[in-house]
Amino acid sequence: MEHIHGNILENREIASGYYELIFRMEGQSPLPGQFLTLRVDESSQPLLRRPFAFSSYTNEANSRAVKAGSEAGTAGIIYQKRGHATTILTGKRPGEHLDVLSPLGNSWPMPRTSRRPLLIAGGIGMGPLFFFARRLIADGRNPILALGARHAGLIPVSSLQEFLQPAGESPTGNGKAELILATDDGSRLSDELPPPFHGNIIQALESRFSPEEELEVYSCGPHVMMHAAVKWAELRNAPAWVSMEQTMGCAVGACMGCVVEVNDEKRYARVCSEGPIFSGGYIKW
């Protein structure tokens, strides 16, 4: 955990209302699932730092390969324009300074070898699962990346393309992930991508997987989606992991502000320092 400078390389809209911010930062390497906090402005309005999950990290510029454990490098987040702070963020230009606290929180646990990793993302949950998918591919783990959105415009087509190429052909050399897409309104994406399921992402999974398939489920996105993912996994006796979201004060475990209710005698766990990733069954939904 360090308080460091970032230097913006790129900041562009990758889907309707979704942006990818790429920057260089010195310091410790984040793992997939970990997050940073940004102070988007020197003024006191907005006041608090804002948390965002890493969507990529590498120490080779121009490559998105995952080299966790490497020293310094190029990092990325995918963020949605929501309120005051994220609106300010959309105005940042290459060359500008970023005030970064990183890396924070825990990371996605690696899947048991007997199980195939299924990554279920919705909305701003994309970032940490893209990062994890690359890591899994690099480790030869053959992940399934499932992404749901209200309509096709909210899906970042260019970001998904890197997951389509088989190893060797992919620019990062990482090779393929299986993609499952769903749009609530059935709207379709570019022809390069698999046709989306018409409905929500959990329904899409129902029709794709036989009950025998051994999966380990990782989910990040809207609360209801994660809850549905956990219930679906439980029915299949699959381990499930979720990345929780909660308004944060300190982001380092000091203020007890970011807690979620858990099935434990202590009742509450801090998202920032005990999470953001929790076993699905530990959360009191």
């Binding site: 955990m1 360090e2 308080h3 102070r39 006191s44 309005q45 907005p46 006041l47 608090l48 730092r49 606290l101 909660q246 308004t247 944060m248 004060g249 300190c250 982001a251 380092v252 475990g253 000091a254 203020c255 007890m256 502000g257 970011c258 807690v259 979620v260 209710e261 202590k266 009742r267 509450y268 320092s273």
Partner: protein, 307 residues
């Protein structure tokens, strides 16, 4: 030339006037990777209560204009686990560690203090009579001068360590409460705690915080804390520890000029973990530029009695 940055609070000498406020710095360990704890003059722990408390329901935090509301609700591990889990780390610091005490009735405070005196002796106690989050608890205690004097007197008998009473701004006359603390034998008062505040979510039509109201802190309340400190520093003859909304060295200096002998940084730790170091550096430069040799020299300008 700066000769001395130290500050005396009763029997205690803090190495410098910059402390970090209760509830915003955990038990120090959370910030160990980020800053050098020993550079701080004082560290005020998260409130400790006799028994563990899970804290209030969620959500507990929401941002406001230049501020934030919290209703953490004294979430803490309780005095026994404080001794086993937190004390070992805390006692290793060179900085003065002040335990923030909370409770519902006088007996809670006394019992907690006595337990800690025996099992976790640190630099002193800050008595939080003013947390607006625990219904019918701290609130009432901290707004009645007679009760405050009684609390100070009772705890004074139980410890020779630094005893600080923390004042709530949610009163008609804060100087009256400060004088009661002084009369009861407190070594210092700290002011201010958070203001009562609220936000409502117009989508759900419900208060944003589960506890409905919460405590307002951060830059928004700076002028309120400064005015309270200024008034209190003219009402008592014990040191005043000023806090509320400080985020820059200039603002910390305003508190010292207003009559504070030391200051605490709260919410700003969340925004800028280096604030402590920066503020201390800023105070030092200001003293050099203005020919101030010691912290009490700040008090000559606005006629705070030098203590």
């Amino acid at each position: 030339m700066v000769k001395d940055l130290s500050v005396n609070i009763g029997p205690l000498t803090m190495a410098n006037p910059v402390g970090v406020a209760s509830g915003t710095f955990g038990y120090g360990s959370e910030y160990e990777e980020l800053i050098e704890i020993d550079a701080l003059g004082a560290l005020y722990t998260k409130a400790v209560t006799l028994e563990p408390r899970p804290g209030n329901m969620i959500p507990r935090i929401v941002e406001t204009r230049s501020g934030m509301l919290n209703s953490i609700g004294l979430a803490n591990v309780g005095s026994r686990r404080f001794v086993t889990e937190k004390y070992p780390g805390l006692k290793s610091y060179k900085t003065s560690v002040i335990v923030n005490l909370a409770g519902t009735m006088l007996e809670d405070y006394l019992e907690t203090l006595e337990y800690l005196e025996e099992h976790a002796p640190l630099a002193g106690y800050e008595v939080n009579l003013s947390c607006p989050n625990v219904k019918c608890g701290g609130m009432a205690l901290g707004t009645d001068p007679e009760q405050v004097e009684l609390v100070a007197k009772t705890l004074r008998k139980a410890t020779d360590k630094a005893l600080i009473i923390k004042l709530s701004p949610n009163v008609t006359d804060i100087t009256e409460i400060a004088r009661a603390a002084e009369a009861g034998g407190a070594d210092a008062v700290s002011c201010i705690n958070t203001l009562v505040g609220m936000l409502i979510d117009t989508r759900t039509k419900r208060p944003v915080l589960a506890s409905e109201t919460g405590g307002l802190s951060g830059p928004a309340i700076f002028p309120v804390g400064l005015a309270a400190t200024y008034r209190v520093a003219r009402a008592v003859n014990i040191p005043v520890i000023g806090l509320g909304g400080i985020s820059t060295a200039d603002e910390a200096i305003q508190y010292l000029l207003a009559g504070a002998s030391a200051i605490q940084l709260g919410t700003i730790n969340f925004v800028n973990p280096d604030a402590g170091t920066e503020v201390l550096e800023g105070i030092r430069s200001y003293m050099e530029e203005n020919g101030l040799e010691r912290i009490s020299d700040f008090h000559q300008y606005l006629h705070r009695k030098v203590i």
